[in-house]
Symmetry: C2
Subunit: 185 residues, 2 copies
DNA sequence: CCACGCTCGCAATGATCGTTGCGTTAGTGC
DNA sequence: GCACTAACGCAACGATCATTGCGAGCGTGG
């Protein structure tokens, strides 16, 4: 919530806080993977940090989850640039599908969504921005790509839908095929 | 989890249990709308039921939420039948979008998703079956509609995506426009 | 090098949660 | 109408959670 984006955070980027924060994030990821019910004391114990610290810094499990989700889903991703919009989208979609088919990532997403609107929105991360970059490049090339909103709805929508609301997340191949819906040949 | 589908449930459909169950479901909906943190004792107090009953019948907040979600999202919905696949889909999509744009419904969905896979899947309800009915009718008519999976991914995917992962759920008009992606003219 | 301030650890407290054994009430079948 | 079973209410218990005041440690700036 208070972190910009990178590995470190906040007021004192180089210090002890950042290490604690990283430990806590790691602990959350671990516990999430173990299906343990997330609670601040439990996270604290796992992270080797005093519970008070968590209550002070984050206040609630929801805020902590939102924080973890943002730092997990927003990061420097190499946006594909093959020269062809279709190929770029296919590759991007496959990458996203691969990412969210990881059970641990799924757990994080579900928990973040359950934490409320902020946590849910954090799960988008900067993926719409990545999409925008792809589409802008196509527009600069002289093409007429769909809008970012439309692309996000169709691609991210379908990928997230299968990941979250069904038992079978989509495969990368399936995600590639999705581009066909957006860009009819 | 133990209920078939209808208003009542389980072993003794006509009895006291069903009333308690209804009261509990109502309480969950209320508390969800109030942003209160859902916990079994709290739900029990609101429902005028003893906490023990909840622990025995559902065991955990997750199971309770999954139960509430299933009974909320699966029900006798009048599947549109206008004679035209496109019109049917547009109307159906608009109905779904209207439904999930209700803040209370949104809260329920987020909470159910956070409760785990079963809760998340419960949010689909029987909407894919409704979709299947629409598409089958078109096939019987001699048309070649998309598969149920593809239709669900695109339509439900986009609608749910905007509802859950963004601050602005889609409007019915927007949802209608979504059909154009699935059925290019 | 030193003083300031932010962050963390520590300990104690009240509140709430989740569980279990037992008695009672309500619904079902003969 | 009567016995049986299932579901519920009740009360206790231990465990865990969430909060607060205080002191110490680490990083930053003069």
């Amino acid at each position: 919530m208070s972190a910009p984006a990178g590995t470190q955070q906040g007021t004192r980027p180089g210090g002890r806080s950042a290490q604690k924060r990283a430990a806590v994030h790691r602990a959350v990821a671990e516990l999430l993977a173990e299906q343990a019910d997330l609670t601040l004391p439990v996270v604290a114990a796992r992270a080797g940090v005093h519970p008070t610290t968590l209550y002070r810094r984050w206040g609630s499990v929801g805020d902590l989850l939102a924080d973890v989700a943002t730092s997990r889903f927003t990061g420097e991703v190499v946006v594909p640039d093959t020269g062809s919009l279709r190929a770029d989208l296919e590759r991007w979609a496959a990458d996203v599908a691969t990412d969210v088919s990881d059970p641990d990532v799924l757990m994080l997403m579900r928990a973040a969504v359950g934490a409320g609107e902020s946590g849910a929105c954090a799960c988008r991360g900067d993926r719409e921005e990545q999409l925008a970059a792809l589409l802008d490049r196509e527009r600069a090339r002289g093409g007429r790509p769909p809008t970012v909103a439309r692309a996000a709805e169709v691609l991210l929508g379908a990928i997230y839908y299968r990941a979250i609301f069904t038992e079978t997340p989509g495969t990368p191949e399936w995600a590639r095929g999705l581009v066909e819906v957006l860009l009819p040949s």
